[in-house]
């Protein structure tokens, strides 16, 4: 996989992961182009498209689009399930995940992704093992820290 992008229906980029070296300028250009292309597609259309010399695999979950760029010989269907498994991981971690979780806890979204995919390849497909790694990390954190309680966000989440 060359990169993964998460963006909203409004075209706001929520997460970007690049597995090939590109300049910031190129990244921005690719993002702009792809967001536009994918958003222009109608529901029920095929989840794959050719774009430049890459294959794009995307899927929409509620308000978020998950979009992966893979190489010619890569498998489209299994990439679709990479997306799904990542969504499941987020869902399990955050508890019925929504876009706001990813906005406010973007760093967690990156950490989970790193446990699942590394260097563009699937590292660990077991949901249990990925979450175990993340939770272990959470356990390591300092207890002294002021915990932030998120009631307002729950309200916010519902209203969203």
């Amino acid at each position: 996989m060359q990169f993964m992008l998460l963006f909203s229906r409004q075209g706001k980029l929520r997460l970007q992961k690049w597995y090939v070296p590109l300049s910031d300028k190129e990244k921005k250009k690719i993002t702009r182009e792809l967001v536009q292309t994918v958003l222009a597609r109608k529901p029920k259309m095929c989840s794959f498209l050719e774009w430049r010399d890459l294959k794009i695999v995307y899927k929409r979950y509620a308000s978020l689009y998950f979009c992966c760029a893979i190489e010619d010989q890569d498998n489209e269907l299994i990439t679709l399930e990479i997306i799904h498994r990542y969504v499941e991981l987020l869902d399990k971690y955050f508890g019925s995940v929504c876009e706001l979780d990813i906005i406010f806890n973007f760093e967690k979204a990156y950490f989970i992704l790193d446990e699942f995919l590394l260097g563009g390849e699937v590292q660990e497909t077991s949901k249990k093992n990925v979450l175990k790694a993340i939770e272990q990390a959470d356990l390591l954190q300092e207890k002294t820290e002021t915990m932030y309680h998120s009631r307002s966000f729950i309200g916010c989440k519902k209203a969203y």
Binding site: F48, I103, V122, T125
Partner: protein, 978 residues
């Protein structure tokens, strides 16, 4: 579970993010961000040392700002400081920042690498993983230099935790992709392969990706992975859906790992070991069988995971391209998907079938789905699916269905999406050219293209139709008539005007007899379009007009009037003005003779790769022209239109279907082909030969011939000062072949094209094609110096009895070859009866006054006249038994001179000319072939068997033919190839 109860909430960060989200405008957002940046900067610069938490929070804010798309130019140092924190979350945020905002500031890289080194050495698996993730995410050369040597050690260390191994494997993969030179292969590679046996599925999953990448560059080092991968795959495929617990995904056991293993196997040819191969074929069959079982779940994830494995399995089957049975089953499976309700599956089935279409085993099976695919092209709602359907139609096209496919594509073109029109136009143009049985159909198709999608018809396409019409005199009249009719349309595309202008200017005379298309009518029709056209087209039309003056003297006054008009003579465009002035003067001052010479019909174009094909390849990247690529052997279609290289391919075989890519109608074998030196003909017209005396108003037929026919061999070249030897030198005049002649000859036993000879002065290239007992060879002599070669004279000599066995007709080439120039010589070859020694090619010339001579063996060996014969196993054995006389068999046992690679061997045997028969020899390692040697006098049936022995690095080759010397000779020729 509340949204952010997990992990460490950073209140300040959450507030900041909320603020940003509440900004009503972009300006407000920027303002808020600038405020925050100022705040953070002052905190970082402040005297008070920041605690870890604050540092982490600010670094995280900076990261957020960066991810929003704003530039960040500070904070790197604080992030690096976090790396050495012993608090996990601080370290984690530090690494995340570094991963996202890498900066090759050398000072920082050193600090970062230091921190990573510490974490790698910490023996704390969580820290080690963080460090490995960072290296994998950054993947820079600097990091490669620092860690590429350590990571293999961590990967194979006995005491590394599973999670660390997983990260190390993929980290190494990333570094290897970025800078392969930095990753040293070594003793660890063998141990990496054995990770395929690891108990932990996650470790296997990560390791397969690494191995797949490494083995591409070092296939031999990793060869043992084949059997390990097969047994792993076999265990997964045959396991019950619950066996693998958490690695089962929606009732599909380990789909990711399965797909990766199948990918890995695609790096290699089919397993050599029969047991391994058997086990693998069993796996592939199981996957195909499972596809027919009812789904275990209605969830799309279940079917996606299952089908992901199925498609990867089909890719492997196509990659092997050796199991007809599996290929046909794959094709049937994809056929079912073509009508599946899931758009994704239809898309993938169309895509995968495209590759199946190029296998000779499944090409026919793919063709049976033509109606479904045409229907997809018409009814699919998603353009990307329609695009796949168009690709597939292109791939499955052959002579039997070309008319149907081209007409469907033309129909589709009328409504096609703009994005893909140009590509469809190219495809139609190529198919029409490649599979044209009659030229009128080709011309109609291209003109239809221009009519329907004129804007998308690129120069390459309309140039090509002109080239073909110019090079084929049997279509010129039809082309003239058709463009004339097309131009009658009130609104016709400018490209049509261009094609029409050019064709009428060349061949308008062919329809001038009909009063409805008399010269004045032709002219006024063209001129009625003139004013609507662009400068380039007008310039072309002006050339047409001057050609008309030559073709039709009665139009001279009218056309001179047009040229003389102020709008032309004083045109603001320099090109138009110049043409008008020059043409007007030419038509006034030149005598009819001179005019006829200057405005002679254009000579045929030298053939080269179709420019359209080149364009399609450019557009789509390599492999795009797959339907035309030489990969597919299509014995049924008698494909004389050539494969990917429509090089001068006219084999002079009388054939019902004429050759569109070749130059002229295939003449009978003895007749002279009309191709030599076509590129220089314009010059030749003025310099030498009969063509220098222009006849008044030659009929096109005569003009064509007079231009094309080089001086007959027996006539001395009157206008050339250098005396060229008038007749072929006898064999006694030529020297013995150069010492390496045999070796050079051997290179061409299994191939037809290449460089035959090269020294400091001269390069000789060969292109040849053989069909039945006939062949045509093009020799290209390139002068590598900057000095002209003089008295250049290549001749072919038949030593001994060869004269009665092989007839080779040559054409004389120009006696001078300029420095840097290349001349081409055409040889027509006919095999009269079997022969053992090749003809000799003697090349002599003077270079700087010194005579040079060179004798080579012409790469014409008996196997060139092989015609492959397919037969079933029992037929083969029956014939094998029939040829059981001892003198009919020749056998050789010899040591392998080259690495023993089954694919290479296969290619060589096919190049040798025999058909390869599968499933004949009980031992799948062996190769069995059959063919018939075609000579004029007799046919010689040949059967061959090649048995490689990989352990001993030896081969045993056995040939049985109906003629004793042929068996021996073929055996010797072929044995030298391995």
């Amino acid at each position: 579970m509340p949204a952010v109860s997990k992990g460490d909430g950073m209140r300040g960060l959450a507030v900041f993010i909320s603020d940003i989200r509440n900004c009503k405008s972009k300006e407000a957002e920027i303002k808020r961000i600038n405020k925050e940046l100022a705040n953070i900067r002052s905190k970082f610069k402040g005297d008070k040392a920041l605690d870890g938490y604050s540092k982490k929070k600010y670094v995280c804010k900076l990261l957020f700002i960066f991810l929003l798309g704003h530039d960040i130019d500070f904070g790197h140092m604080e992030a690096v400081n976090l790396l050495s924190s012993n608090k996990y979350t601080e370290k984690q945020i530090g690494y995340l920042f570094i991963s996202v905002l890498v900066n090759s500031n050398s000072e920082l890289i050193r600090l970062i690498n230091n921190a990573i080194k510490n974490d790698l050495a910490s023996r704390n698996p969580t820290f080690m993983c963080l460090a490995l993730h960072c290296i994998a995410n950054v993947g820079s050369r600097e990091m490669g230099e620092a860690f590429a040597a350590d990571i293999p050690r961590i990967l194979v260390a006995g005491d590394s935790m599973d999670s660390v191994k997983q990260s190390a494997a993929l980290c190494l993969l990333r570094l290897y992709k970025a800078s392969p030179d930095l990753v040293p292969m070594g003793e660890w590679t063998a141990r990496v392969v054995h990770l395929l046996n690891d108990q932990h599925m996650g470790v296997v999953t990560a390791a397969v990706s690494l191995i797949t990448c490494l083995c591409k560059k070092n296939p031999d080092d990793f060869k043992t992975c084949i059997s390990l991968a097969v047994s792993r795959l076999s265990r997964i495929v045959s396991s019950a859906s619950t066996d693998l617990q958490d690695y089962t995904y929606y009732f599909v056991p380990a789909p990711w790992l399965s797909v990766k293993l199948l990918r890995l196997l695609q790096c290699y040819p089919p397993p050599e070991d029969a047991a391994v191969k058997g086990r693998l074929v069993e796996c592939l069959e199981t996957v195909l069988n499972k596809a027919q079982e009812p789904p275990k779940s209605k969830k799309v994830q279940h079917s996606n995971a299952k089908n992901a494995i199925l498609f990867e399995t089909i890719s492997l089957i196509i990659h092997y391209d050796s199991e007809p049975n599996l290929l046909v089953r794959a094709c049937n499976q994809l056929g079912q998907f073509l009508q599946h309700r899931e758009t994704n599956l239809r898309y993938l089935a169309l895509e995968s079938m495209c590759t199946l279409a190029s296998s000779e085993f499944s090409h026919e099976a793919v063709k049976t789905h033509i109606d479904t695919v045409i229907n997809a092209l018409k009814t699919e709602r998603d353009v990307s699916v329609r695009q796949r359907a168009a690709d597939l139609l292109y791939a499955m096209c052959d002579r039997s269905n070309a008319k149907q496919i081209v007409s469907e594509m033309l129909r589709y073109l009328e409504t096609a999406d703009y994005a893909i029109r140009e590509e469809i136009v190219l495809k139609v143009a190529i198919l029409a050219e490649k599979y044209a049985v009659d030229y009128s159909w080709y011309v109609d198709t291209i003109l239809n293209l221009i009519r329907i999608a004129g804007d998308y018809v690129s120069e390459e396409v309309w140039y090509r139709v002109l080239q073909i019409v110019t090079n084929r005199d049997d279509v010129q009249g039809y082309a003239a008539k058709t463009v004339f009719e097309a131009l009658q349309a009130p609104a016709c595309h400018e490209n049509m005007v261009k094609v029409g202008g050019y064709i009428l200017g060349e061949f308008g005379n062919l329809i001038a007899g009909d009063p409805r298309s008399s010269p004045p009518v032709q002219f006024s029709l063209l001129h009625s379009k003139f004013h609507l056209c662009s400068v380039a087209t007008r310039a072309l039309l002006l050339s047409t007009y001057i050609k008309f003056i030559n073709l039709f003297p009665e139009t001279k006054a009218t056309i001179q009037g047009v040229l003389r008009a102020g709008s032309q003579l004083r045109n603001a465009d320099v090109e138009l003005q110049q043409r008008a002035v020059e043409y007007l003067t030419l038509s006034s001052v030149a005598s009819t003779d001179v005019l006829a010479t200057v405005l002679e019909e254009m000579p045929p174009f030298p053939e080269r790769e179709s420019s359209i094909l080149a364009k399609l390849k450019r557009k789509k990247g390599p492999g795009a022209g797959s339907a035309l690529d030489d990969g597919r052997r299509d014995p049924s279609s008698n494909d004389i239109n050539g494969g990917v290289e429509p090089t001068p391919s006219t084999v002079s075989t009388p054939s019902p279907s004429a050759d569109l890519l070749g130059l002229r109608a295939a003449p009978p074998p003895a007749a002279a082909p009309a191709t030599s030196g076509a590129g220089n003909l314009l010059v030749d017209v003025f310099s030498d030969g009969p063509a220098a005396q222009p006849s008044l108003g030659p009929t096109p037929e005569e003009a064509f011939l007079s231009e094309l026919e080089p001086p007959a061999p027996e006539s001395p070249m009157a206008l050339l000062a250098d005396p060229a030897p008038a007749a072929d030198p006898g064999p006694e005049d030529i020297g013995p072949p150069i010492p390496e002649a045999d070796e050079l000859l051997n290179k061409f036993v299994c191939k037809n094209n290449g460089v035959l000879f090269e020294n400091q002065l001269l390069q000789i290239g060969v292109k040849s094609e053989f069909r039945q007992n006939l062949g045509r060879m093009y020799l290209f002599y390139g002068n590598k110096t900057s000095v002209q070669f003089q008295n250049f004279s290549p001749t072919v000599v038949h030593p001994g009895d060869l004269q009665t066995q092989l007839a080779v007709q040559t054409k004389r080439v120009a006696a001078q070859v300029d420095g840097g120039a290349q001349v081409q010589q055409v040889l027509n070859i006919e095999c009269l009866r079997d022969f053992l020694t090749p003809p000799l090619l003697s090349v002599r010339f003077r270079y700087g006054g010194a005579p040079q001579s060179l004798t080579l063996k012409l790469p014409v060996t008996i196997n060139k006249f092989f015609q492959p014969t397919e037969m079933a196993a029992q037929d083969f054995f029956q014939r094998w038994k029939q040829l059981s006389l001892p003198q009919q068999e020749a056998q050789k046992i010899f040591k392998a001179n080259h690495p023993m690679d089954a694919e290479v061997t296969k290619a060589k045997l096919l190049g040798f000319g025999s058909a390869l028969l599968d499933n004949v020899d009980p031992n799948p390692e062996n190769f069995v072939g059959a063919g018939i040697i075609q000579t004029k006098a007799l046919q010689v049936g040949c059967l061959l068997r090649l048995e490689p022995n990989a352990q001993a690095q030896m081969y045993r080759l056995t040939l049985r033919t109906s003629k004793e010397p042929v068996s021996r000779h073929l055996c010797e020729l072929l044995a030298q190839q391995f």
